[in-house]
């Protein structure tokens, strides 16, 4: 053991700084999860605060908002997962049909730009363009005779706005991955299909889609881990009190209980619930991806 460490010390030394930082700032908070089971008192610190058993969890479950928040989270996350899978696949197939390389590159360049802008920037833009009184979107709708829609303040529209704007931000980025899978399809397959009399449509159906299937399965499976990730950055910057009913999610709930109301124990209990459920789903998704798509993380 000692000789092994001596022999490989340069490797251990390279890892050491990162190891320590992760220990403190990633594993440290995991240890801090004990406050989910405590009545946290700032004066006594984490370890000195009295134990509460499951009281924090019971209290959270008794709150009327909790089940609504969990439901919102899952609905929004699932909607994003499904639309976020279908749109990039479709666009990748359509882009693949374009023969002019320059045009293809231009479109790609335009569609993944929003991915690199923060939800602060995009939130600021959306708040402006979606405003019912001044926003350009409602001005345009007005031209066609529609009444102004309060996309960010109306419970009938809020989830739709979240999903639409999220897909708008991210579909270009995902399209790249699918497009890469498409370009790796052997052209011989297309030639063979053509000789067999398949038109473009049938070629798409019988060559392109099966060629993409492994990556679709892989990314679809991996996205399972996001079942409780409805997108904190986006929701936090777009929601407001009137749309809590449809838009409040676990992460924003934790923020309000923990940071705004300083109920550390309760907020941590909700966070722990999310972490555990997410862990189960992420592990499951990695396991499935490993088993059926031969995927390895490292």
């Amino acid at each position: 053991m000692v000789s092994a460490i001596r022999k490989y010390w340069p490797f251990h030394l390279m890892i050491l700084p990162g190891f320590l930082l992760v220990l403190v700032y990633s594993y440290g908070p995991m240890a801090g999860l004990v406050i989910a089971f405590k009545k946290f008192m700032p004066s006594k610190g984490i370890w000195g605060s009295p134990w509460l058993g499951m009281d924090n969890f019971n209290f959270v479950m008794s709150l009327p908002d909790t089940s609504q928040v969990i439901r919102n989270t899952i609905i929004i996350a699932l909607m994003k997962m499904v639309v976020g899978l279908i749109v990039p696949i479709t666009i990748a197939i359509l882009l693949n049909e374009v023969r002019k390389a320059a045009f293809k590159r231009t479109v790609q360049t335009l569609i993944y730009l929003p991915h690199f802008l923060s939800w602060i920037i995009l939130g600021g833009i959306l708040i402006d363009i979606l405003s019912p009184s001044q926003g350009i979107v409602n001005k345009l709708l007005g031209l066609f005779g529609f009444d102004p829609i309060f996309f960010l303040g109306d419970n009938r529209w809020f989830r739709f706005t979240l999903v639409f704007s999220d897909v708008w931000k991210e579909f270009g980025f995902s399209t790249i991955v699918y497009l890469a899978a498409l370009t790796s399809i052997n052209p011989v397959l297309y030639e063979a299909a053509e000789i067999d009399g398949a038109n473009r449509w049938r070629q798409t159906w019988h060559v392109t889609l099966p060629g993409m299937l492994p990556i679709i399965v892989l990314l679809g499976t991996l996205s399972l881990g996001n079942v409780l990730n409805a997108g904190f950055d986006q929701v936090f910057n777009l929601y407001s009190v009137p749309v809590y009913e449809t838009g409040d999610i676990i992460d924003t709930y934790v923020y309000r209980i923990g940071i705004e109301k300083a109920q550390y124990g309760i907020a941590t209990a909700v966070g722990l619930f999310k972490s555990v459920v997410s862990f189960i789903f992420i592990s499951l998704s990695y396991f499935l991806a490993y088993r059926f798509a031969n995927y390895r993380i490292f």
Binding site: A4, Y8, P10, F11, M14, I15, G18, F19, V22, V24, Y25, Y27, P29, M30, G32, L33, I35, E97, V98, F103, V107, T109, L110, L113, P114, F116, L117, S118, W119, I120, I121, G123, G124, I125, I127, D128, Q134, I136, K139, W168, G172, I176, A180, R200, I215, L218, F236, N237, V241, D251, V254, G258, I259, T268, G271, S275, S278, I282, Y295, I297
Partner: protein
């Protein structure tokens, strides 16, 4: 090469081209609208005359923004966090990725270490314990709170270690025969050969640090320690007066109109737009490398 196309397919091609063009334009139109607003006069904006081209061209909004000390301070904090944060990110990414790219036989314990890092991607302590840890280590309200807790970007480590694995083993072996130690091999052989991948990760790290806002919001108590994105969060996004603390309300008075808001949004997006051409060149390779492997 002559390709025979049916008339149906030619029609499809035409519609397809138009559709994709519209789609591409739709992705940047909102940004163009904001840009047009920022260069228009306040009266034209209020009258709703501005679409995608400035009306009554003026740079007043920008003069206004650059005259605000708070905005410039926040901009400077952002630049600091990008420079310091990205340097730490890159150094640690390279240092960790190299040993982890070894086979178990070359570096026993490698798998254990790898799981140690990957586990943090699967499970986390959540918001409150994270905040309390940073508080306990005394980083609150300093620039270090923005760079130290996120010092190790695990995803980037994985991308780079997979790239390292694809490099020819013979190079390392011959360097070792010449007496080079692991540090020499890493800096002299692996790093120069991995420049495409490292460039991608560098850009990811820059964009990540520039765009981060939540940590600044939570971990800085004084507005002068806010990075730009956190600063914008408080004055542009949180318009709801019920949420405004007296401090926020004071800041809020700084941005009293849409043109000024538009200018601030655009300036905050500008650094990203400036590195975008470089991003674009490298990132297709980088992202595909990270998410799709044989």
């Amino acid at each position: 090469m002559a390709v025979k196309m049916s008339s149906g397919y030619r029609l499809f091609s035409m519609i397809n081209t138009c559709f994709l063009l519209l789609l591409g334009v739709a992705c940047i139109l909102p940004l163009l609208h904001i840009l047009a607003l920022s260069f228009s006069s306040a009266s034209a904006v209020t009258a709703g005359e501005v679409t995608f081209w400035p009306v009554d061209w003026t740079t007043a909004a920008y003069e206004n923004v650059f005259g605000k000390k708070e905005y410039l301070v926040a901009f400077w904090v952002s630049i600091q966090r990008v420079v310091i944060g990205v340097s730490i990110n890159m150094l640690l990414t390279i240092l960790i990725a190299y040993p982890l790219s070894k086979e178990n036989s070359q570096f026993p314990g490698r798998t254990l270490y790898a799981w140690y890092f990957v586990f943090t991607m699967l499970f986390s302590g959540g918001l409150i314990p994270w905040y309390m840890t940073i508080k306990a280590t005394g980083l609150l309200d300093t620039i270090w709170a923005l760079v130290i807790p996120s010092a190790v970007p695990i995803f980037n480590v994985i991308v780079l270690l997979n790239f390292f694995r694809g490099l020819p083993k013979e190079l390392e072996e011959s360097a070792k025969l010449d007496g080079a130690g692991p540090f020499t091999v890493l800096w002299r052989i692996f790093v120069p050969l991995s420049m495409p991948s490292i460039a991608t990760l560098l850009l990811f790290a820059i964009v990540g640090h520039w765009n981060s806002w939540f940590d600044g919001l939570i971990l800085a108590n004084h507005t002068e320690n806010y990075p730009l994105q956190s600063f914008l969060q408080t004055i542009i996004i949180k318009l709801d007066p019920a949420y405004l603390t007296p401090r926020d309300a004071e800041l809020h008075a700084l941005v009293n109109n849409r043109t000024s808001r538009a200018a601030q949004i655009f300036i905050a997006a500008l650094p990203i737009l400036m590195v975008y051409p470089f991003l674009q060149r490298y990132f297709v390779k980088g992202i595909v490398l990270g998410s799709v492997k044989e």
